[in-house]
């Protein structure tokens, strides 16, 4: 397989990995913020 085509697959794999990591960590951060707000509303 042409190395340029191979690089396309590598870029897809790393793009998928880092996009997933950013989304997952962002979801944790957003849920922490929401939980803190909900707790503050109840106290």
């Amino acid at each position: 397989m042409d190395p340029a085509v191979q690089w396309n697959w590598v870029i897809l794999a790393y793009g998928f990995t880092y996009a997933a990591l950013v989304l997952f960590t962002a979801s944790i951060a957003a849920r922490i913020t929401r939980a803190r707000r909900r707790l503050a509303e109840r106290s």
């Binding site: 697959w9 897809l12 790393y14 998928f16 880092y18 990591l21 960590t25 849920r31 939980a35 106290s43």
Partner: protein
Amino acid sequence: MTTPEQSPSPTWPWIAMAVAGLVTFVAAMTVSADAVQGELSRIMYVHVPAAWLAYLAFGVTMFASAMYLWKKDLKWDRRALASAEIGVFFTGLLIGLGMIWGKPTWGVWWTWDARLTLTAIMFFVYLGYLALRRTTDDLRTRAKRSSIFGVLAIVQVPVVHFSVVWWRSLHQAPTLLRPEPPEMDTSMAVTLLIAVASFTVMYVAMMVKRIELARLEDAVVIADQTHSGAAAGDAVTAPNLSGRGM
């Protein structure tokens, strides 16, 4: 005494995750390509660490679940939850990366090979663990049910890992977790170990933040139950006896 919403929220895990991600990327992009697979071998430096973290996360889930059943302390249940969610995330990532690697090397995105099928089953079983936790708001009932599940579900991890040894498989044999030394060039093995170490740092950092979230979510549940309990208590201790209905 600080309440959960006042407790400090450490920032170092975010920094650790970013640094670990950067280290993995630089190491994987600078190492020489494999003689047979060429540039595609670079996918290994995220695929194998994702598999390692799935195993590690589900192992920690089993340990924390067993500790909850022994100690009855909800902090162990929160640790089990945090690790299970991270494990599901990395199993999903592992399957996705396997598909991206499989298409150019095997010619197909997916095949019903033993390793692939068992990994998919493991993914759905641990999704079931997360779903089971949503069946009740009672923290103790939830912890007991999910801890039993968390202990039993670990049986899949060795089955997934050794599936390539026990059955004829399209998937290659284990690269690192095996009795013999790795059959790869030293520079590639070192790069893979750097990637595995970086992903492990990422896992620890994610655990810190996910446990913080679990503690806050439990505090919200307790606050809601205390609030609704007080309302119900008012109704019981001070019923409307005037006979005028609402």
